[in-house]
Symmetry: C2
Subunit: 348 residues, 2 copies
Amino acid sequence: MEQALTDFFTTRRDPVAELGPVFAESVEALESFTLRGGKRTRPGFAWMGWLGAGGDPASTGAAAVLRACAALELVQACALIHDDIIDCSRTRRRFPTVHVDFEQRHHRAAWSGDSAHYGESVAILLGDLALAWADDMVHDAGLDPAALARFAPVWARMRTEVLGGQLLDVHGEASGDESVAAALRINRYKTAAYTVERPLHLGGALADADPGLIAAYRTYGTDIGIAFQLRDDLLGVFGDPAVTGKPSGDDLREGKRTVLVAEALQRATETDPAAARKLRGEIGTDLSEEQVGELRALLTELGAVDAVEARIAALTDQGLTAIDASSATPEARARLREMALAATRRAA
Amino acid sequence: MEQALTDFFTTRRDPVAELGPVFAESVEALESFTLRGGKRTRPGFAWMGWLGAGGDPASTGAAAVLRACAALELVQACALIHDDIIDCSRTRRRFPTVHVDFEQRHHRAAWSGDSAHYGESVAILLGDLALAWADDMVHDAGLDPAALARFAPVWARMRTEVLGGQLLDVHGEASGDESVAAALRINRYKTAAYTVERPLHLGGALADADPGLIAAYRTYGTDIGIAFQLRDDLLGVFGDPAVTGKPSGDDLREGKRTVLVAEALQRATETDPAAARKLRGEIGTDLSEEQVGELRALLTELGAVDAVEARIAALTDQGLTAIDASSATPEARARLREMALAATRRAA
């Protein structure tokens, strides 16, 4: 995957160099950001979807499939760069976020105008470039026209869904939508469809998988993707900082609108108005360790933790049942089972 | 073109509706913005490039070509929406810009958080959506695979060039690059390549034009595109507000970094240090009508206006010579001549 991405960036060198060194330097920042990152979760699921539908890694077409799967990392680069502007995040993976990086370059050079606005402007454009290049990478991957024709509509749906999911998230936070349904819908589109369901679907489409297998991939992807996010929500409040690497309770301080909090608010509103007031008044504020502890206890007492754990268990069962009954290869079924359990039972 | 865009938005209704009414409403704002707009300059040049290379509007493939050309308006929607954030523009075509529209919705609803940041966040995501959909529209246009394969690399270059050009613009403004070369480079990539050269090239590629015609299109597009921008720069300072619809001298108040100003600064630096100080000290400030008048006189006295007029004349000649000597159809040659003169001799 790294090699496919590195090779792609190499193909952009000449057109970028034509615009001069300033553009080339900015593109270098995009390249470092993309290559430095992450667990390659999305390309990994796409590749697994292809293998599971009978794709042969020793076949002549395998390199093109790998390149098309790796293009997901460029969509992800755009999503992260723009999300970091939207969330006002200053660091990612221990480096300054892209907009902060360019804000700092502006500041160090003592240029004119507002450093923060300059950083955001450059980051908007570099995110756009990553999104445009994601498409270029797909179309330069060397897929045969029939495979590309199967890939394209799923790719289109995925991009619309993740942008829609981010938009719902931004809207939900501003409008104060507290419902469990709204939180689940954001998980569905912003996380599950984009991270698991559509990547598997893309891989299946490349291998020309039968409709039954595609349906199984999509059920598994939606269910495990949402369960993954629910586990993340629990860890954001109850996780051990020594294991997660994040200060415990940070999600409560940031006021992240999760299914966990929505469940708690719904229960409190029905049964315990004082608890509801406490939750609404404290979440999203600069909480002390003691307050975090109290809120944790409250989430547990209200039954929200059990409810989320029950959802995770049901979704995981449902997703695994779908994949077990599918025509995926035995190796893929075993691997997807492992991946599901790793994603939903992890401690970090 | 309008019909092709309207039809495309109709195809997105179902996938958008699946995410619920909040997303659907935001997409409606994107649709209105895209359909309301502009002169359809880019699709117009692309269509002309196809006709000029022998494309037959009565042929069965013409509708697909029209749809592929219309997709340029979705790239343009992204460019405008994101540019308006970068330039802090509050209105466009007499309507609030997209980020201001959503800022106002947030404010009217008295939601939590910062209205301006909310507006920018939504506008970043809607611009991304337009960029992703531009690609979807190309790939759903119904082009035959050979035509799509000729189209795709030019489309890729164009998107990289316009984003690179915008980035150079943002960088040049912050770093205070005053050189004529830098201003011309921004014109080349942000305006000429994106508005004339690559659209004509795309149309030619769709018609499988011979390399000589493609080269003529590109020369014409680069030269006329830059000349168009230079005319725009002159009108931004010397245009009649009754004709341009913009307060006269606004480009000087905004401190827009144009070839005109770069020429003046270069000349003043060499021959008249007091004039150079005046230009550097006043441009980009809240100028009175009197000051605008003085700066106009200075730009003229320094010879910058004549120099820009000479450049426009030379570029127009060069572009027209290339197209006249080309194998473009006589109708296209005549029409491109008219378009060139309209773009470079206009008063508004």
